[in-house]
Symmetry: C2
Subunit: 136 residues, 2 copies
Amino acid sequence: MSTDNLVDGLAQTSFVITASLSRIGAENDLSLTQLRVFGILRDRERLRMSTLADLLGLEKSSLSGLVDRAEQRGLVERAPNADDKRAVDVALTPSGQELATRVYGEVTEALRPWIDRLPKDDQHMLEHLLWRLLEP
Amino acid sequence: MSTDNLVDGLAQTSFVITASLSRIGAENDLSLTQLRVFGILRDRERLRMSTLADLLGLEKSSLSGLVDRAEQRGLVERAPNADDKRAVDVALTPSGQELATRVYGEVTEALRPWIDRLPKDDQHMLEHLLWRLLEP
DNA sequence: CACTGTAGTTCGTAACACCAACCATTACAA
DNA sequence: TTGTAATGGTTGGTGTTACGAACTACAGTG
């Protein structure tokens, strides 16, 4: 069956990407999950703990410690939510922002040579297909 | 820059795949890393601890515990290497083999609906591109 | 106003991954 | 060939990650 091979290819690719992300994260003392937090928070202004947990696919309790550690390092900050006094918003601090863009730049640089083994046309095709797949 | 978007797409896709693998692994009491061990060992006969560690990108010491736990569950077994008395070979037991094929079947089933949102032609194209990228 | 649900935190537990230190064996060099 | 370095694995200690259960504080609803 052909789907098997595609699944395999997706899994293998995942491992390659994940390895790069982990390595570059580690060089900056960031776990893969913390990297994801940064990736998510980089675009948006602020996010509630619970929605962040949902996006990451984590339990709320897992997120507390994660944010704790990042907050102690001054990369992230908590603020009470204006609308809901139970809720807590999380946002990147300026230094967190800076780290995020730097690390994601490094990731792109690290993957570029690997990606460039594919002709430009194929790169565009791949990009197109992946985003089609990722559509909601 | 277009590479950025491709890197992003690859990362996003990785997270989706990883989430599926983790979930299905968890349902079978297997961590993502154990799942990878099974995937690697499924094809080959037996592997030395060190080469397995290399393939996984792990320290030797990390592998010891990993294999310990799998061995205690009877999924994997150690055997002294014939050529090198220092080395230890690892292989799936029959019950490990069975679990491996079952779990990887479940993964394929889980991803199929997601993948099938892409027309068959696009699936083949994607598969082709990914494997081109994965070439050594 | 009581009651049920939701948002986060804390606590205890287990897996995971690393490093450093340690044997045993192998490879190599003088 | 014998001494020394390198390799293969394990052990022990540490920090991170993730979970579930129990808990507090606030929201929403009847």
